[in-house]
C-alpha cells in the first residue's frame, strides 16, 4: 500500500502538474477558441535533471495538428516564428505564455468550452511521451 502511494506521488507533482523523469509540466491551460480552426495552449516544462531534454512534438487526439510558435514584439509589431523541437536545458525551463511562445492546435474536431479539458501528449527525446490535460479558460489575461 505504501509503495503504491509512493508511486502515485511520483506521477503527481506538488503544483498539480505532471512529472515524468526529470521533467515536470505545470501551469497548463488552453483558451476556449472562437472557432474550431485554431486554439492556443500554454504550459511550463521544468527540467530538474542534469541533462537537457528536447520537446520533439505535441499531439492531441482532438486536433489534426499542433505546432509551437515563438512570438516577439518589436517596434510595435508582433512577429511569429515556428519553434521546432525546443530544448529544455538542464536545471532550466521552457515557458509558454500568452504573448510569448504558444502551442497552436489546428483543426479541432470540437469546440472546447471553458471548464472542458483538452488532452495533449508532449513527446520528449529523453522523458518520452507525457500526457498533459489543458484546462480550458475563457480568453483573457494569463492566470
Amino acid at each position: 500500500m505504501a509503495a503504491l502511494l509512493l508511486l502515485a506521488g511520483a506521477c503527481t507533482a506538488r503544483s498539480g502538474g505532471v512529472a515524468a523523469g526529470d521533467l515536470e509540466v505545470h501551469g497548463a491551460f488552453s483558451f476556449a477558441p472562437p472557432t474550431t480552426s485554431e486554439a492556443a495552449g500554454y504550459f511550463t516544462v521544468v527540467n530538474r535533471g542534469r541533462q537537457a531534454d528536447t520537446l520533439l512534438r505535441v499531439t492531441s487526439p482532438i486536433a489534426a495538428g499542433a505546432m509551437l510558435h515563438g512570438q516577439v514584439q518589436d517596434g510595435g509589431m508582433v512577429r511569429m516564428t515556428n519553434v521546432e523541437a525546443p530544448v529544455v536545458p538542464a536545471s532550466d525551463s521552457l515557458v509558454l505564455s500568452p504573448g510569448g511562445t504558444h502551442l497552436m492546435l489546428m483543426t479541432l474536431d470540437r469546440l472546447p468550452k471553458p471548464g472542458d479539458t483538452v488532452p495533449v501528449t508532449l513527446t520528449f527525446s529523453r522523458a518520452g511521451a507525457v500526457p498533459v490535460m489543458l484546462p480550458v479558460r475563457a480568453y483573457g489575461d494569463a492566470p
Binding site: F31, P33, P34, T35, S37, E38, A39, A40, G65, M67, H69, Q71, Q73, G75, G76, M77, V78, R79, M80, T81, N82, P98, G99, H102, M104, M106, A138, Y139, G140, D141
Partner: protein, 185 residues
C-alpha cells in the same frame, strides 16, 4: 491631483487626427471609418482570425470590459477589427469570429493595398505575411501591429494599448475615454 483617474494607455505624442479610410464591412457595405465612428470612443485593431494568441486576448479583454460596463456607457464605444489577412478572412468567417466575442464588434476587410493604406493612415506599421512560418501547405502567419489604437469622442486618437494590457486596466480606462475631455489625461 487624483492620479487614479489618469488614463493608463500609452499616450500618442502628438495625438493624431482620426484616420480616414473606407473598407468593406461584414455585410459587404462600404464603411467610412472616420464618418461611421465620429463622436464615439473608437478602438481600432488590425489582426487576423487565424491568430490564436494576441488577437483573441485583446478582443476578449475589451468584450468582457464592455459587458461589465453600464449599457449607456458601453454604447459610446465602437470596436473596429480590420483583418490583415483578407484572403482567408472571408466576411462570414470574420463575422463568426467576432461574434464569439461581441456581436457589436465591427469587422472590416478590403484589398491588401486598401488595408495597408488604412494601417498607414493610423500610423501603424504595415502587416507582413510570413509564408516561412506556419504549418505548410498554404498556411502562413501574419506579423501585425500589437497595439489597439484608441480615439476619444472628439475624433482625436490619443492612446495605444499594447498586448498584456489587462482587463482590470481596460475597465479603468474605457470610462475615462468615454468621459473625455472631462477626464484628466
Amino acid at each position: 491631483m487624483d492620479t487614479s483617474s489618469q488614463v493608463l494607455g500609452l499616450a500618442l505624442s502628438p495625438p493624431q487626427e482620426k484616420p480616414a479610410f473606407t473598407l468593406t464591412d461584414t455585410q459587404g457595405r462600404p464603411f467610412d471609418f472616420r464618418k461611421e465612428t465620429s463622436g464615439y470612443v473608437t478602438l481600432l485593431f488590425f489582426g487576423y482570425t487565424h491568430c490564436p494568441d494576441v488577437c483573441p486576448v485583446h478582443m476578449s479583454n475589451i468584450a468582457q470590459t464592455l459587458k461589465n460596463m453600464p449599457a449607456p456607457e458601453a454604447s459610446r464605444i465602437k470596436v473596429v477589427f480590420v483583418t490583415n489577412d483578407p484572403e482567408r478572412d472571408t466576411a462570414p468567417r470574420l463575422r463568426a469570429w467576432l461574434d464569439a466575442f461581441d456581436p457589436t464588434f465591427i469587422g472590416l476587410t478590403g484589398s491588401n493595398a486598401e488595408i495597408v493604406a488604412a494601417e498607414a493612415a493610423a500610423h501603424l506599421p504595415p502587416s507582413e505575411k510570413d509564408t516561412t512560418a506556419g504549418a505548410g501547405a498554404g498556411s502562413y502567419l501574419v506579423g501585425h501591429a500589437a497595439y489597439v489604437y484608441a480615439c476619444t469622442p472628439d475624433n482625436i486618437c490619443r492612446f495605444l494599448y499594447p498586448f498584456g494590457f489587462r482587463q482590470v486596466n481596460w475597465a479603468h480606462d474605457l470610462p475615462l475615454l468615454v468621459a473625455w475631455p472631462n477626464s484628466p489625461s
